[in-house]
């Protein structure tokens, strides 16, 4: 889960990581009031959970009250990559001498956290990693030791090019690592970490990604979830224990298991079709889950056909078939359904579906090809 910059900065401030003085505002009047409190000039920053807001015009500087009012009003009316801007963060500007990069992330290959630091701050660090890999310091963090000052010191000295500010940088790095572990993050990133002209290190931006699997023990963080960031159908699906991601095609997919769901979508595309969604009904075969899955998919008017691909292990095919028949009865038959049910109790499922108008196929390939033909308007 992502949280907003202003939320991450509030967490930083409490953890002793220096951030610019600032406050969030939801209206131009509110922004002006914050500006009066902080003193001008200020930066006005759109709070949206997507990258690239600077390029989209979502960050502006304001030197006068009129400029601040206009900037806040403009930004609050924006949509950045479809997302509305509900808040702006007003911050005192910093006098920047240098921009650095610092983060703690999960190193999946090593199965432990990793400290990344670079003198190339403020830029796309992944791009920098490709074009200039030597410019990024990577410090492995042995979980039995944690990130200690002596571990971070040499790399941060190299990044800073000398010893003067290393004490501040080490304190920030260890605090970032502590947050990473204590809040169960998958990423804590400071980009840029700036050096001010008077020799202070300040986190000018703050990004925290939280591990969804650990949110159960951080109710305060879970409460920060921004409903704007999720498609309403995704939220609806989550409430019914379905894993759903909206896409832009016309073939609705219902599959059990994430890997098989992705493989089914891939095969749809390979056969010349376009999947409308990713949907994993999970391991349980409660018939009402199929009903909710069908309802959510049918709420997309672009969907022309529904493709069901179930490999029954724990999931029982006859339960899925019952759910499908029930969904057909309550939701109507606006679009054709192609069902491929194999594995546990597949014979019973076949019998149940034989007397319906639902189309079936014995193989994944066959079902996908049939669904693609139907989506093109061809006869079954």
């Amino acid at each position: 889960m992502k949280i907003h910059e202003y939320q991450a900065k509030s967490i930083f401030r409490n953890a002793g990581i220096p951030v610019p003085d600032g406050k969030v505002a939801a209206t131009p009047d509110g922004a002006v009031a914050v500006g009066a409190e902080l003193g001008l000039p200020v930066a006005v920053k759109a709070q949206v959970l997507v990258g690239g807001r600077g390029k989209a015009g979502g960050i502006k500087l304001a030197g006068t009250e009129a400029e601040l009012r206009r900037a806040a009003s403009d930004i609050l009316e924006m949509r950045i990559k479809e997302l509305p801007v509900r808040n702006v963060l007003i911050e005192r500007t910093a006098d920047i001498a240098r921009e650095l990069y610092l983060s703690v992330a999960l190193d999946r290959a090593a199965r432990e956290p990793l400290l990344l630091a670079s003198g190339l701050g403020g830029v796309d660090i992944e791009e920098a990693a490709r074009t200039c890999p030597g410019a990024i310091e990577r410090v492995r963090i042995d979980p039995a030791f944690g990130l200690r000052a002596y571990t971070a010191w040499p790399a941060l000295t190299r990044v800073l090019g000398g010893p003067e500010l290393v004490g501040q940088a080490v304190a920030i790095a260890t605090a970032v690592h502590k947050l990473f572990m204590e809040l169960d993050c998958s990423l804590v990133e400071v980009n840029p970490l700036v050096v001010t002209s008077d020799g202070r290190l300040v986190a000018l931006d703050a990004k925290i990604l939280l591990d969804d699997n650990a949110l159960f023990r951080h109710p305060d963080l879970a409460a920060m979830r921004d409903p704007d960031a999720d498609d309403p159908r995704e939220t609806d699906a989550n409430e019914h224990d379905l894993s759903f991601v909206a896409l832009t095609g016309d073939i609705g997919c219902i599959v059990n298991g994430a890997g098989l769901a992705m493989a089914t979508m891939d095969l749809v595309k390979h056969a010349g079709g376009q999947p409308a969604n990713f949907l994993d009904v999970g391991g349980s075969s409660r018939p009402e889950k199929v009903l909710h899955a069908m309802r959510i998919i049918l709420s997309d008017p672009d969907v022309k056909v529904i493709l069901l691909n179930i490999f029954g292990g724990i999931t029982r095919c006859d339960d899925i078939a019952r759910g499908l028949i029930e969904a057909r009865r309550t939701l109507g038959a606006r679009v054709p359904v192609v069902a491929r049910l194999t594995g546990t109790n597949e014979a019973e499922a076949r019998e149940l579906l034989a007397s319906t108008e639902l189309l079936s196929s014995d193989t994944m390939e066959g079902a996908v090809e049939l669904a693609v033909r139907l989506a093109r308007g061809e006869a079954a």
Binding site: F180, D212, M262, L267, M364
Partner: protein, 291 residues
């Protein structure tokens, strides 16, 4: 031979009184696997559906010689269950439970260092050595003994591939579902090393998906050290960046973990990549026929 689980396996089911634990204890027994009992703290000394129940894994091991455990306890207790099995000296621990926090797994993986335990999972379907033993939830009916080693980050996709292999007359030495989480116990590399040393395994099928770089590491290993042919599948070619596709690990972030990168790595290592589970079985069939 086979890897990880064979006829010597003596399985302790952690969480045996739960719905999944008791169902799968019976399923594993029906497959011919020796389930020596299970654990449920506070219910030690009782019986549950014919299985002896112990308070602790150490107690179960002392009484029965259990060398394998499989974990069906809910996410809140799964981390403790893994530590418990590791500390009891169990050789193979399979954690089926999903939803385990990644940071907790960093600790568990640290605890494995210098100990004899191998951990498969969490969030995985487990291990089956057809005709010998199954530890986990892979349906026994789809697998058949033979020369193909299967390692996968997925669950039902594994079943689909194993089903296709069986339909193409290709049996399996062992199928290992390592799970879809960002911090697994065993990763591709750990399992491939075991397949290399297993004389029964003549070809390996690697089933990967988007996220991380485990597939790229596996591809390098196949090219440099495996000494056996391999065939691969990569799920998620159509997945959009930044979206978690069901598995906690299946997310493309930044430049790391796209299907294209993984397919390219496999192909550069001489590992053909199938477009579908059936194509994977056909590739495996052709490769073995060539000898």
């Amino acid at each position: 031979m086979s890897i990880l689980a064979d006829t010597c396996a003596k399985v302790c089911v952690q969480g045996i009184t739960g719905r999944d634990g008791s169902f799968h204890a019976a399923q594993m027994t029906a497959y011919g696997t020796v389930v020596v009992g299970g654990t449920r703290p506070g219910k030690g000394g009782t019986e549950h559906e014919g299985f002896a129940v112990y308070d602790t894994v150490a107690g179960c091991r002392a009484a029965t010689g259990a060398n394998t455990s499989v974990i069906y306890v809910p996410a809140g207790g799964a981390v403790d269950a893994m530590y418990e099995a590791i500390e009891a000296g169990i050789e193979l621990v399979v954690c089926i439970t999903e939803g385990v926090p990644a940071n907790d797994m960093i600790g568990v993986v640290g605890a494995l260092r210098g100990r004899p335990t191998r951990l498969v999972g969490p969030n995985c379907p487990g291990v089956i050595s057809p005709g010998k033993a199954k530890v986990g939830i892979i349906p026994g009916s789809i697998a058949t003994p033979g020369p193909v080693g299967v390692v996968s980050r997925s669950g039902t996709l594994t079943y689909e591939v194993v089903h296709e292999l069986t339909r193409h007359g290709l049996g399996q030495s062992t199928c290992v579902g390592i799970g879809g989480d960002p911090v697994p116990g065993m990763n591709f590399l750990d399992v491939l090393r075991l397949f290399r040393d297993d004389p029964e395994t003549r070809l390996v099928v690697i089933i990967g998906e988007i996220g991380g770089s485990d597939e790229q590491i596996a591809a390098d290993y196949v090219r440099d050290e495996l000494d056996k042919p391999a065939v691969a599948f990569v799920a998620g070619r159509t997945a959009p960046p930044g979206k978690r596709m069901g598995h906690a690990g299946a997310i493309i972030s930044g430049g790391e973990g796209t299907a294209e990168e993984k397919v390219a790595a496999f192909e550069a290592a001489g590992v053909p990549v199938g477009m579908s589970p059936r194509a994977v079985a056909e590739l495996a069939h052709d490769r073995l026929a060539r000898g």
